[in-house]
Amino acid sequence: MGKISLKNVTKAFGEAMVIPSLDLEIEDGEFVVFVGPSGCGKSTLLRLIAGLEDVTSGVIEIDGRDATEVPPARRGLAMVFQSYALYPHMSVRKNIAFPLKMAKMDAAEQERRVTSAAKILNLTDYLDRRPGQLSGGQRQRVAIGRAIVREPAAFLFDEPLSNLDAALRVNMRLEISELHQSLATTMIYVTHDQVEAMTMADKIVVLHAGRIEQVGSPLDLYRSPANRFVAGFIGSPKMNFISGAEAGKHGAHTIGIRPEHLALSTTEGAWQGKVAVAEHLGSDTFLYVNVNGMDPLTVRTQGEAGIHHGDTVYISPDAEHLHRFDASGKTI
């Protein structure tokens, strides 16, 4: 079981209020991703849940029990750190078995659990090596192995993939998602990368300066962002924002339109502009277009567009996918 609720939780480091009052419900078995820009308090929030930091005020409940004062080891949570935090002087086997040894589990059961974790994570051949002799991806798996043998109520991941190269990151993303499918245990995953959030999450929590901006499924956030911050943060390339007279026509302070919802034409359209940069990805083409009286617009077209730097193009927004924001940034 792994139902976690935060009630009026705040956290201050001295004078600095890092997390002003925050409420959050995490259901059993959910894959929840905390996403937000660097320094917004994601790690702090995760460490509060883990018990590595004390809350300044508020209550943390795990499975309905007040866990605010419970020490980290007794909360039944396992954490995977960004630096992996493996024990360098122990073999992989001993690293994975460490939490079991601390729980004074008998040797046969320890061995059984380590073996099965190693099998799930493809570490069987590396059990007798030291962490220093492993690649980044393997170290990552050892850290996950050390977490799963404890059979915790929930897993906490703090940017676990940020030290891996791009290809490995995609692989590990899939492996963690598969692990979640097979274990069906609550997972809380912290990242600043909205792609990881969109691809892995059941539920995304968007944080900004310690506040929750919006909670919802990936597609909820994509389709109906609650405010301008979420609209700009979720989706890649970023949403275009247009303010001034053009926004006034739609009765808003600012309007937002995603690059994939702009129609491109070489003959006619709502706005005329010049292509500054064209990025040809094969499957897509990203165009950065300068339009008079607006910030540069990003346009995404499928396939090979045959448009290059300096070409004149016409752009029309898809009215159905237009987002309107008021002066405070709230969605209208």
Partner: protein, 290 residues
């Protein structure tokens, strides 16, 4: 040093230094070996003659030699135990955040800057003196008989004095090691259910193994040759109770003017030091790798 070429160049470039050091060592060593085979007494100049291993036989069969050997090992071992255990404890304390941390750290390091003769005299006259010493006053204050440390426990007293001098060194090295420990490892072990004791045994101590090895090796080199503290406190006595090998060599060659015998003792001391070094490297040298 990847290529064969760069390896040759490196050897070539360090060779002057190696040769200089070799000469620096080999000249006095060969002279000492040479003297150790002579009958050479300063009271009878011009009477030197070759007498083979006689000096060695006398030195090694002298009962004072075995007493001095045991004292040397006790002194080195005792000081090592006190400084490593005490140094680890102090390092753990100093690593905690507290008010006035900077000043306390300087205070802890201070004994290292006091000359051995001075600190031994301070201990002898101001602390351990059975009439005027602080310990005697304390004992009298709680109604006990003052204890004459240097007369009744001379070796233990010297171990205490030397340990006091070396404690700062051990503390400093161990504290640096402690501060280089990755905090996330400690947090991970905390989440894994390790209490304070387990964290110390399984995470902190293995991390400090290399620093402890360095402390043991460096201190052993210096502790084998402790001399000033013995000279100013007990003069090796009573009897041979606080004589170590270094002091015995001094007593032999300068108090008895026997250069030949002293040289033989010196060579024996060199051999013993090497035996100790080999043992140490066997036991803990692997901590220094990788």
């Amino acid at each position: 040093m990847a290529t064969a070429h760069s390896r040759v160049a490196a050897r070539f470039m360090i060779s002057p230094a190696v040769l200089l050091l070799l000469g620096w060592m080999i000249v006095p060593l060969s002279m000492t070996i040479y003297f150790s085979f002579l009958s050479y007494n300063l009271l009878m100049p011009g009477m030197e003659e070759f007498i083979g291993f006689t000096n060695y036989r006398f030195f090694l069969t002298d009962p004072a030699f075995f007493a001095a050997l045991a004292n040397t090992l006790l002194l080195v071992g005792g000081v090592l135990v006190i400084t490593i255990v005490g140094g680890t404890a102090l390092a753990l304390l100093l690593d905690q955040p507290f008010w006035g941390q900077g000043i306390v750290r300087i205070l802890v390091i201070a004994p290292f800057f006091v000359m051995p003769t001075v600190s031994a005299l301070v201990w002898k006259n101001m602390f351990m003196n059975p009439v005027n010493g602080l310990f005697a006053h304390l004992a009298k204050a709680i109604g006990l008989e003052p204890f004459d440390f240097l007369a009744h426990a001379p070796l233990a007293s010297i171990i205490l004095i030397v340990a006091w001098q070396w404690l700062p060194f051990a503390t400093l090295i161990l504290l640096t090691a402690l501060q280089s420990l990755d905090q996330e490892q400690l947090e991970a072990s905390e989440m894994d259910g390790a209490n304070f004791g387990n964290r110390f045994i399984y995470i902190v101590l293995p991390h400090m193994a290399r620093a402890i090895t360095v402390v043991v090796l460096i201190q052993t080199i210096f502790l084998l040759s402790v001399f000033a503290e013995i000279l100013v406190t007990t003069n090796g006595g009573p009897g041979y109770a606080s004589t170590n090998i270094t002091y015995l060599v001094y007593a032999q060659s300068l108090l008895q003017f026997d250069v030949g015998g002293g040289s033989a003792g010196g060579i024996v001391a060199v051999i013993l030091a090497n035996i100790v070094a080999v043992f140490l490297m066997r036991m803990i040298g692997k901590n220094l790798e990788a």
